[in-house]
Assembly symmetry: C2
Homo-oligomer: 198 residues x 2
DNA sequence: CAGCTGACAGATTTCAATATCTGTCATTCC
DNA sequence: GGAATGACAGATATTGAAATCTGTCAGCTG
């Protein structure tokens, strides 16, 4: 009994995979489960994704890209470079914190997945630091920021704020005072970017 | 056949525990193993440490304190506050990186231990940020740094450099270019501390 | 004939029995 | 008498046999 009689597409498989991951967790989510959820044989899933790893990679990439796209809107938005930088960092923190807080099981699942999929995460980080570089370069152009190399500065800012977006710190995001800590770090970084060259 | 006939002290037990941890890893290191290594019955170990958790805690504390003490020497050392701050941060990075690089097994062992012992790690971090606070306060006093609250700034600096001392980033410490990343982050933070208040 | 199926081999995971460990304490030993 | 021992009960870990999963492919189906 097929749940829907639409044709089987990669998109539908990804949808079902996400649901199975949410339900079963990363360790117990099998290709057979995904096929069962779709009412097809597991052989059909292998027609669209060569291996289980490729399927996991695709679903993880989709998940990460959702955050990327949301933040991309801030890069060319309104306000000064400093305002956009602050909004972007706050947006990243907020997005991660909500993902972790709203559905901890699913977040833990993706944390496991990203741990085993180095390449996808690398691209995601390149994407995000690229966005940051554009904001900082704009600030350097307008004179708000004084940095020798916007790309280097962007990476430093991204890494320095790791505590507020790297999944390995997720358990701290619910702690009392985390907001103040975030503000203190961002203030310090913004002052570093804005100060005259040494 | 007791390997040594000295009296059984807490110190000797900690020594043996560290050796057993190095040999067997955190999951397989048992109290029975420790007793066997010392040539005594496991009941004797329980005379000095009430539980296995207490033993693990004591040995972990000892390990963390070794790093603390090494860095404490820099706090009141020679040079300007900026020089000491840079030396302290570099020293912390260096210490952690060597621990992780020289004996990855033992480092992984302590990473597991610190994960289960929240309190000990909390105290260790309080200790380290305390040292940082003293350096930054000295800089604020001499006019090198301009910060409203040295303790807040110290915590921000500690967290912003987390990538270079937090065990969850240990695998990145062997990567190409990590030194440059460290320098970029520290430069940015020092500029932030030194710049005139906003 | 394009897409799907289900049986299959080898790899991985589960589960229950078996063995080991933790923490206690009555007893032994200097 | 203070320190150490080793037997013990309940909790935890190991092990290996049975079940399940991954990835392939010859054949079915519409």
């Amino acid at each position: 009994m097929p749940p829907t009689s639409e044709t089987l597409t990669a998109e539908r498989i990804l949808e079902a995979t996400e649901e199975v991951l949410r339900r079963h967790g990363p360790a117990k989510a099998t290709v057979v489960d995904v096929a069962r959820a779709l009412g097809v044989s597991h052989g059909s899933v292998y027609r669209h994704f060569r291996t289980k790893a490729a399927l996991r990679e695709a679903v993880t990439k989709r998940w990460l890209d959702r955050t990327s796209r949301r933040l991309a809107g801030i890069v060319d938005g309104d306000g000064t470079a400093e305002q956009r930088l602050r909004a972007w960092l706050a947006g990243l923190f907020e997005a991660k914190r909500h993902k972790a807080g709203d559905d901890p099981e699913l977040f833990a699942t993706y944390t496991v997945l990203t741990d085993e999929l180095g390449g996808v995460v690398y691209e995601h980080i390149e994407d995000l630091t690229g966005q940051l570089t554009r904001i900082i370069a704009a600030g350097a152009g307008s004179g708000d920021f004084r940095v020798p190399d916007p790309a280097v500065a962007a990476r430093a800012v991204f890494q320095a704020t790791g505590r507020f977006h790297d999944p390995c710190h997720a358990r701290d995001w619910a702690r009392q005072g985390i907001e103040e800590e975030f503000t203190a770090v961002v203030d310090l970084l913004v002052r570093g970017l804005s100060s005259p060259s040494p």
